[in-house]
């Protein structure tokens, strides 16, 4: 990858942060909590995006951010009041800017059609602004740099340049010799040092400039080129440029360039300008950070995974040696284990990211959904700082978008209905994230009418998803929402419909090793709860053996482990068996059979049982030969070298170096859950993909 490309990548990465800062700042402005520095930071975000976009020639992005910046500048300098209407325009512009950055990232440099309306809205803002101080609002875009065309063979000309620096010229870091040298680049020069300004030695002030130069330059360059050399020192010197021809006509150098106004010639003791107080509240100081390529982090994570496997191999060998538990080597290896865990946690933390950018995007989704549905919605968020693996954050974006749209569209009532129910006509959607026992729990709550269960059941029956006579528990009815085919064309609104149902959300969540549940209270609202692992790299699992194979069952869905009593096992039909546990009859699933590892039913009374809850809240008892222990395992994807395997979500390497498959218990259980047995509730065969980075 060329470094130009890596800088381009850097631009997009930085833009993402700048957009986050922008949206954050606009949120504060909207809430009336913004101070000057917030507004400044908002301005700077757009300004920096413009600067970078210019470097890569993303002209659509440059044009839009320029106009955007102009409005923000007016707000910043208090020429424009940040009224609610203006702030809304700014927020929408920020959304559009996000789109433009995304387009540029994809290499699409066309200016999208909507640009005009966004630009018009921004201009509308400015119409109310007073004229900026000291400058006329310039037309947008970069001021065109004059392009000098060299046409034909130009004749040479002799310029006579009289140049006498003021003190400011020196203090601004200029060196007259350099200027003379730059002139020499244009042609032949003859330089005469003029010392008329120098007085008696006794009066000599080394700080006061007294030297001047007379330079004769013979060049084919036009006068503009010659003047360009003095561009930076304009006003910092006496300068007279004339051509020989002029000279002949007018021997006295005429003041083509007036000496700079006296104000500008004053010594460098000009008062400090616009230096902001430097002391900032300590909490605003950004933490020192280091930018690292993701690949490097992943290599580190892999290596640490190996380290942990290596540790458990050593520990296992030691155990086989049956040493005294207080033997030195045993203690050292235990220390090794703890250290390896520390390293692993630290390394995982590198990949951890706050969910904040994700939540921020949702405010845009809500705004769009408001427009599409005509509902009024307030979005509240909490726990934005909650950190979770980068991949989880990334892959959660689509499902969360869908959920939020769904909540606005189907969860909340229309304002009239809310008023009639004695509620605030503005609905509230609450997004929250929290760490809970090794998982991150994200909830999307609306204060709408709650799920209409009879209606859901009716829809499911009409679509043939549920047998007409099948009685379902409330939780089973709620779970129907996640069934493929539940959401179909006749209820496609222009918002959450689009032919995608919540089943897609559910699949995305299970792919991440998480689960989604619903809680609803009629009249008060509905809550979707997504629990996800903090990382996709390790998992807490229970190690079991089945038909001579060692397998891992993720701990998250396990309720308890049981050694079944003979009297609790009941034959059910020709081939099924039920286990009586917790006062309920639970289907008994032979894992070996489910995985096709051995033929025929084994005796459940000789097995051990893992009781687990499926995503549909059904209980299932998994029959295994033996339960060993519970441990954290490093997840290894199967699909990168092979493909996905039904009933298996991934693999891991155990202490003895052997590969153990990690089960996807939901898939195993589905084939036997009571609803599935009805033959109608069978979940599609599309298997969730195993996780990988």
């Amino acid at each position: 990858m060329g470094s130009q490309n890596s800088i381009r990548d850097m631009f997009f990465e930085e833009s993402e942060e700048l957009l986050e800062q922008l949206i954050d700042g606009l949120g504060l402005i909207a809430a009336g909590q913004a101070d000057d520095e917030t507004v400044n930071a908002v301005f700077r975000s757009v300004h920096s995006i413009k600067g970078g976009a210019g470097a890569f020639g993303f002209s659509a992005l440059v044009d839009f951010s320029h106009r955007f910046e102009t409005v923000l500048d007016a707000v910043r300098s208090h020429r424009l009041e940040a009224s609610a209407g203006i702030v809304l325009t700014l927020q929408r512009s920020a959304d559009f800017l996000t789109d433009l950055v995304e387009r540029a990232r994809r290499g699409d440099t066309e200016t999208p059609e909507q640009a005009d309306s966004f630009l018009a809205a921004l201009d509308q803002c400015l119409a109310g602004a007073s004229a900026p101080d000291g400058l006329v609002a310039s037309a947008f875009g970069f001021a065109a740099q004059p392009i000098l065309l060299d046409l034909g063979e130009p004749a040479t000309e002799v310029f006579e340049i009289r140049f006498k620096p003021f003190g400011r010229l020196y203090s601004n870091g200029h060196n007259p010799a350099m200027i003379v040298a730059s002139l020499a680049d244009l042609g032949e020069t003859t330089t005469h040092l003029q010392t008329e300004g120098m007085g008696e030695l006794a009066d000599f002030d080394p700080a006061a400039p007294c030297l001047g130069w007379l330079i004769e330059l013979e060049t084919s360059a036009p006068e503009t080129k010659v003047r360009e050399v003095f561009d930076f020192v304009d006003g910092l010197c006496d300068l007279h440029i004339s051509t020989r021809l002029d000279e002949a006509a007018a021997p006295e150098p005429h003041p083509q360039v007036a000496p700079a106004s006296s104000g500008a010639t004053q010594a460098s003791s000009s008062p400090p300008q616009s230096v902001r107080p430097t002391a900032e509240p300590a909490d605003n100081t950004p933490k020192s950070t280091l930018r690292v390529e993701l690949d490097r982090v992943d290599r580190l994570i892999n290596a640490v995974g190996e380290l942990i496997i290596n540790q458990s191999m050593i520990a296992q060998r030691l155990q086989e040696l049956r040493l005294a538990t207080d033997a030195d080597v045993v203690t050292h290896v235990e220390d090794y284990r703890l250290l390896a865990r520390d390293i692993q946690e630290a390394v995982m933390a590198i990949r951890a990211q706050p969910v904040k950018p994700l939540f921020q995007r949702m405010s845009r989704i809500v705004r769009e959904a408001e427009e599409a549905t005509g509902k009024k919605v307030k979005l509240q968020t909490s726990g934005e700082g909650t950190e979770v693996d980068k991949t989880v954050v990334e892959r959660l974006s689509d499902p969360l978008t869908h959920m939020v749209r769904n909540s606005v569209d189907h969860g909340l009532e229309k304002p009239e209905a809310r008023l009639a129910a004695g509620k605030d006509p503005i609905g509230t959607i609450t997004l929250s994230a929290v760490h809970r026992s090794g998982m991150v729990v994200i909830t999307i709550r609306d204060d709408g009418a709650g799920l209409n269960r009879p209606k859901i059941l009716e829809i499911a029956r009409s679509k043939g998803l549920v047998a007409p006579d099948l009685e379902l528990a409330d939780s089973e009815i709620d779970a129907l929402l996640f069934m493929p085919g539940f959401s179909t064309a006749d209820r496609v609104s222009n918002l959450s419909g689009r032919g995608v149902g919540l089943d897609v959300v559910k699949n995305a969540v299970s792919t991440l090793g998480g689960r989604i549940t619903i809680a609803t209270t009629p009249g008060q609202g509905t809550e979707f709860i997504i629990s996800l692992p903090l990382t996709l790299a390790v998992l807490d699992g229970m190690v079991v053996s089945v038909a001579g194979q060692t397998l891992v069952i993720p701990i998250t869905s396990i309720l308890e482990t049981i050694v079944p009593e003979e009297s609790d096992v009941h034959q059910f039909g020709a081939s099924d068996q039920l286990l009586f546990v917790r006062g309920r009859y639970v289907p008994l699933v032979d894992v070996a059979e489910g995985l096709g590892l051995s033929g025929g039913l084994r005796d459940p009374r000789k097995c051990q049982v893992v009781l687990m809850e499926t995503e549909e809240h059904a209980l299932v008892a998994l029959m295994v030969d033996r339960i060993h222990d519970q441990r954290q395992v490093v997840i290894k994807g199967l699909e990168s070298n092979y493909g996905t395997v039904p009933g298996v979500s991934a693999a891991t390497v155990l202490g003895d170096g052997q590969v153990a498959l990690i089960l996807d218990p939901d898939v195993l259980a589905r084939n036997v859950s009571p609803a599935a047995n009805s033959g109608l509730l069978r979940i599609s065969e599309g298997m969730p993909h195993a996780v990988s980075h």
């Binding site: 994807g637 092979y642 493909g643």
Partner: protein, 154 residues
């Protein structure tokens, strides 16, 4: 996708091995290493020729029984069996064979196109034939081997 035979190369090198009583060879550029056989963990719902998965320095790689892939009986268990670790299209995999015999240096024109034969499902996975001192060696198309007759596992 790498092709088993790169027509632009004049001198080609193949790793030759024997399994199920037949000789096979694989373009050396696809071979990563040769390992002693070690037990695998079997994969549920896998085709006959997929023996299972093995740990290769932290990566989980599938192991194919090459003989079974070509419709021959499964390779009988033997301590001397070896695994040829190969890479194809970003995937790493192992081929269980009975023994690795030699490295063959061949000229491109010495590789014959296999004739059309009837019915052998494994035939599509052979892209060429090399004549050797011991007889005939079949050049394997790795992509076809792991693709189950063209259909890649998803």
């Amino acid at each position: 996708m790498q092709s088993a035979i790169d027509a632009t190369r004049l001198d080609l090198e193949f790793v030759a091995f024997c399994t199920g009583g037949q000789n096979f060879s694989l373009d050396i550029s696809q071979v990563r290493e040769i390992r002693r056989w070690s037990p695998v963990s079997s994969l549920p719902h896998s085709p006959e020729e997929v023996l299972g998965v093995m740990n290769l320095r932290g990566s989980v790689i599938p192991i194919y029984d090459l003989a079974a892939r070509f419709g021959l009986p499964r390779t009988p268990h033997n301590e001397r069996n070896v695994v040829v670790v190969a890479a194809h299209g970003g995937k790493t995999l192992g081929l269980l064979v009975e023994s690795v015999s030699e490295i063959l240096s061949v000229k491109n024109e010495d590789i014959q196109t296999p004739p059309d034969t009837r019915g052998d499902s494994g035939r599509q996975a052979i892209t060429g034939i090399i004549t050797t001192d011991e007889g005939m060696s079949r050049v394997i198309d790795l992509g076809a081997v792991i693709g189950f007759g063209g259909k890649a596992p998803q």
